[in-house]
């Protein structure tokens, strides 16, 4: 294997495919041509890419939950509840953590213990173990477009099975499903494995079947500055487009400061489209997703509703194409279906109530947009340089060098040198810029913002601010002020 940002050739793909489908017995259920036929018979309203494109055109903000349990019938019951009672616009198939790490034996144990104990012992749906036909059964039991959501560094078999299973959207990417979701997975390997997934999607597209792809925006979900998640989203979009992906949803995890969040969603769309065009991908439809606050939640359910609602309001005011919804159980555990529906309904109320209001382009918003664009461009351009024109190679080198650096990530392929913290208005800035390839102006901007906060709080800029900020939302604040 040698990594390049180049369309995988058919023969190589078929060779890998043989291996992949052997990783677990259900792999033998996959038959690409038959799957294409299956997809072509799906009603249009179940096609994720089509629904997203329609929403983008009409300016809607769609709502989507996360949801996965160990067993098939329970998964069906859960999804039907979320579409009926929860008024979801889009559905998920959230995969369990063993499957995410290709530990199918452990997933099997989880299935069996769930059967025995009568409650789900897995934190998601083990789709590989259940296989193609069970996926189709789920798909046929619901009425909405459904996306596979996970966190799998090597998702090749999962993609083969769930796409053959009739799902029309697949989340993840070689960076965004590695750095926050793995400890020892080399980036070369995960990017390469995700080229396979994207190529598979490309093959579906070439056969006339639309599959939506979504890089995972929030990364570690914890004080990730927009320029970092934007850079990853743009790179994964470029990598996907090269393999033939035509429908991409780029994402961002809400940070909590309205101006910064609106600026982030707007620039995410602008920059992704800009870079796709620049590199010659002209027929990719780009849509956006805002994830409601992804960090630590308050344990109190009423307070959690407050956080959820602010995420909903932000998504609507920013004009995101969809919003991923949290639940009042977030701080405690995987939600019941009722709690999940509650999160959806609070969100639905707000996106609908605010549908006719958009945030006007203020100076504050313009400034935020400019800073995010300048930061992101300097990162992407440096990645490109490091890769000597190859964005895949550049990405591996960029992570080594800390040119891209994800805060608090578990991966040892991430430098972990930058330190984010909130400024005095709650926007996420950098207390330590690490090796990010920023101009002096940008570095000074961050420094000045942090000093402004320090003066206000009458304490020194320090790691304690970062820690206070990590706990803050859970304790009912945005900025972690000294007590």
């Amino acid at each position: 294997m040698e990594l390049h940002n180049r369309k995988l050739d058919d023969k190589m793909f078929e060779n890998i495919r043989k291996e992949v489908l052997k990783q677990w017995p259900t792999g033998s259920e996959v038959n690409f041509d038959e799957a294409i036929e299956y997809h072509k018979k799906l009603p249009k309203k179940k096609i994720f890419a089509a629904r997203m494109e329609k929403a983008k055109k009409s300016g809607e903000t769609l709502i989507q939950p996360r949801a996965g349990v160990a067993l098939v019938d329970e998964q069906i019951e859960l999804l039907r509840f979320l579409e009926e009672e929860g008024e979801a616009d889009l559905l998920p198939l959230t995969i369990d953590s063993y499957t995410r790490h290709n530990r199918y034996e452990e997933a099997q144990k989880g299935i069996e213990e769930s059967l025995a104990s009568g409650r789900s012992m897995l934190n998601g749906f083990p789709a590989v173990n259940h296989g193609v036909l069970n996926c189709r059964r789920i798909n046929e039991s619901v009425h909405l477009p459904t996306q596979v959501r996970h966190g799998t560094p090597d998702a090749r078999l999962l993609a083969e099975i769930t796409l053959a299973g009739g799902f029309t959207a697949f989340e993840g990417g070689g960076i965004s499903y590695n750095i926050p979701y793995a400890k020892n997975a080399p980036l070369e390997k995960t990017i390469y494995d995700w080229q396979y997934v994207d190529r598979l999607v490309g093959m579906y597209e070439e056969a006339g079947v639309h599959i939506n792809r979504e890089p995972f925006g929030p990364l570690t979900g914890t004080l990730v500055p927009p320029c970092i998640s934007h850079s990853v989203a743009i790179i994964e979009s470029l990598l996907a487009a090269e393999q033939g992906v035509k429908s991409i949803t780029v994402g961002y995890g809400q940070c909590g400061n309205l101006a910064q969040d609106v600026a982030a969603i707007k620039t995410l769309e602008i920059l992704t489209e800009e870079y796709l065009k620049k590199f010659g991908y002209h027929d990719v439809v780009v849509t956006t997703v805002l994830h409601q606050w992804m960090g630590g939640f308050p344990q109190d359910e009423a307070k959690a509703f407050g956080v959820i609602s602010w995420g909903a309001a932000t998504a609507a005011l920013a004009g995101a194409t969809k919003v991923i919804v949290k639940t009042p159980h977030e701080a405690m555990g995987v939600p019941t279906k009722e709690a999940n529906a509650q999160g959806l309904k609070a969100t639905k109320q707000l996106v609908a109530m605010l549908a006719d209001q958009k945030m006007p382009l203020t100076n504050e918003l313009k400034t935020e947009m400019e800073i995010i664009m300048a930061e992101t461009r300097s990162i992407i351009n440096r990645v490109y340089e490091l890769g000597e024109g190859d964005i895949a190679i550049g990405t591996v080198r960029a992570f080594e060098a800390g040119v891209i650096d994800v805060p608090f990530a578990p991966s040892r392929y991430n430098l972990g040198k930058i330190l984010p913290a909130r400024d005095n208005n709650g926007a996420v800035r950098l207390l330590e810029c690490g090796n990010l390839p920023f101009s002096k102006d940008i570095i000074d901007f961050h420094k000045q913002k942090m000093e402004e906060r320090a003066r206000f709080e009458k304490r020194k800029v320090s790691l304690q601010m970062v820690i206070d900020d990590i706990y803050a939302v859970g304790k009912g604040r945005l900025v972690g002020r000294p007590r």
Binding site: S97, K183, V334, Y471
Partner: protein, 137 residues
């Protein structure tokens, strides 16, 4: 009195690294000798590290809900490895879903953990308990 040694890490296929980093920082600030194995730690890794560092306690974190499956047999394996005196702590979001904590606590106590900490237990509390239990400082 010599400072106590703690082995810590997030068990299983769990990658929740934020709390792990913060807990390490707080425990070190509090004067403990901390060996942090990070995320995705197997039972064997905890045991190996505890033997090597002559640890007083092992702090298992599990956020993602699979602790029941991941921790099965840990106490027994420790004992077999001669770590009968090492205390086992566990904290995080231990089961799948929001369940009455009393039941969760009992379940894990039966599995041989001496302290079971509910979701969101702040480091201050962990430190207080550790000092008390280990007779540190």
């Amino acid at each position: 009195m010599k400072s106590k040694t703690l082995v810590m890490g997030v068990i299983g296929a769990d990658i929740h690294s934020v709390g792990n980093k913060i807990l390490e920082y707080a425990l070190k600030q509090a004067g403990f000798n901390v060996v942090n194995l990070g995320v995705m730690v197997s039972q064997e890794e905890y045991i190996k590290a505890a033997i090597e560092t002559d640890a007083d306690a092992i702090l298992v974190s599990s956020l993602y809900g699979h602790a029941e499956i991941d921790c099965r047999g840990l106490r027994e394996k420790c004992d077999e490895a001669g770590l009968e005196k090492v205390s086992l702590y566990i904290g995080g979001n231990l089961v799948v879903g929001k369940q009455p904590f009393k039941e969760v606590e009992e379940k894990f106590k039966k599995m041989g953990f001496c302290r079971v900490c509910p979701p969101g237990t702040p480091p201050e509390v962990a430190i207080r308990d550790l000092k008390k239990d280990l007779g540190a400082e």
